[in-house]
């Protein structure tokens, strides 16, 4: 149990707006970046970030410190993103975004196609173009560093599905990034 976290949560729960702003300034960049990469859209990430902090403001009085505030907020952000993505898939009937989508055509390159000094901008753009399902698994595993077991638990999928989604994401990214350097 982290007592500075509990103290900050207590102040927020009592309506201390300075404390709430401190909480926001500390955690918003990480959550926003996660949301941006999971949704692939700045506007959606901004809306979701606002919603998460609104939700946090309502629930902070009940924070008991079972996890750190960062973990508590992160979990809330992931769930918010997943709800959003499920809604988006339903609305748009995007079969390409489901967790069981078909195999992608894989490049049969005999030599590496991605430059060693890959541009971060190119990589961010390519990640944003991935289908929702494999983008989520890739972001949580390769970018955020969660193990497949943790990704599977967060997404409510099997560990094997997490692995295959990350694999698909890597092949798709490889294909997209090879196109950018040709």
């Amino acid at each position: 149990m982290n007592s500075p976290d509990l103290e900050l949560a207590r102040r927020c729960g009592q309506g201390d707006m300075a404390a709430f702003e401190e909480l926001y300034r500390t955690h918003a960049p990480r959550l926003y970046t996660l949301m941006l990469r999971m949704t692939g859209s700045e506007a959606d990430a901004e809306d979701l970030l606002q919603e998460v902090f609104m939700q946090a403001h309502r629930k902070l009085a009940g924070f008991r410190g079972e996890s750190s505030l960062g973990t508590w907020l992160y979990r809330m952000a992931v769930n918010q993103c997943l709800d959003f993505l499920r809604g988006r898939q339903t609305r748009m009937a995007r079969a390409t975004g489901s967790y069981d989508d078909d195999e992608v055509a894989e490049p049969e390159a005999p030599a590496p196609v991605i430059p060693a000094a890959i541009s971060r901008v190119d990589l961010e753009r390519a990640i944003a173009r991935l289908p929702d399902g494999c983008r989520t698994a890739f972001v949580l595993h390769d970018v955020e560093g969660f193990a497949h077991q943790e990704v599977a638990a967060m997404l409510g999928i099997s560990e094997g599905t997490s692995k295959s989604q990350v694999h698909k994401a890597r092949f798709r990214l490889r294909s997209m990034l090879s196109a950018t350097v040709r």
């Binding site: 009592q14 309506g15 201390d16 707006m17 702003e21 926001y24 918003a28 960049p29 990480r30 926003y32 970046t33 941006l36 990469r37 859209s41 700045e42 506007a43 990430a45 901004e46 970030l49 606002q50 902090f53 609104m54 403001h57 894989e106 049969e108 390159a109 005999p110 030599a111 590496p112 196609v113 991605i114 430059p115 060693a116 890959i118 971060r120 990589l123 961010e124 990640i127 890739f138 390769d142 970018v143 560093g145 692995k163 295959s164 990350v166 694999h167 890597r170 092949f171 990214l173 490889r174 990034l177």
Partner: protein, 230 residues
């Protein structure tokens, strides 16, 4: 084994989680297969680059929107009571007006950021748009009635309160007229409704104040503005 069968093993190999008993066989395959060797090299590059991607800061408008939303949702439960503790009702009016002006002022930048580069689909929005316009019309009618009330009775308010009210009202009206000149979309319509809500809140506060001032009840006037429930 075929290359296809080795594919998932390449992922685990790159991640360092492939069981030791399989590493030798995979490495033997990689030594002879340029396709799988290339994939392994690219996966390593991707993994390394992905783990070093930088964080991005959200636009400052998001914090303003969070504060405005909290204010809106907490107003009924006395949000002002902790935001403005100990203020006199006159300074509380000024603070409330500043909050409204800040909200309206930042609306422009967020609205621009939200609409720039975003393609808003209008498919399927017709029904929602019609409902939204109905709400807009009802709010405008209510605002018009309340403005008449405030106009005829505002003499009871101190001059600085009247000036603050006029100034905040002008900022909101200006934002509303700018909105009217923009192409219609779901985002701009939502922003318009938020502006109308701000105007309604301002008018409600003014009318409540006027009522208490007429009664000569300055304590109640202070309580209305600050939201302090005694």
């Amino acid at each position: 084994m075929t290359c296809f069968e080795y594919d998932l093993q390449i992922d685990e190999y790159v991640e360092g989680t492939l069981p030791a008993t399989r590493v030798a066989a995979l490495e033997a395959h990689l030594a002879t297969c340029s396709r799988c060797r290339a994939a392994a090299a690219d996966f390593r590059t991707l993994r390394s680059a992905a783990s070093t991607l930088e964080r991005r800061n959200p636009p400052p408008e998001v914090w303003t929107r969070v504060v405005a939303s909290i204010h809106e949702s907490s107003e009924q439960t006395g949000w002002f009571s902790w935001m403005l503790p100990g203020l006199t009702w006159r300074s509380a009016v000024a603070a409330a007006v500043i909050v409204i002006m800040l909200t309206v002022g930042t609306w422009f930048s967020w609205h621009e950021a939200a609409t720039a580069g975003r393609v808003v689909s209008t498919a399927g929005l017709d029904t929602a748009s019609a409902e939204s316009r109905g709400v807009e019309q009802a709010m405008r009618t209510q605002i018009s009635d309340m403005e008449k009330t405030v106009r005829t009775a505002s003499a009871v308010l101190p001059s600085e309160t009247q000036a603050a009210y006029q100034q905040a009202g002008a900022v909101i009206d200006d934002a509303l007229s700018r909105r009217a000149s923009e192409p219609h979309s779901e985002v701009t319509q939502q922003s318009l409704l938020e502006l109308l809500q701000s105007k309604l809140r301002l008018l409600q506060e003014m009318i409540a104040l006027i009522n208490e001032m007429r009664k000569g009840n300055q304590e109640e006037a202070a309580r209305i503005v600050s939201g302090i429930e005694q």
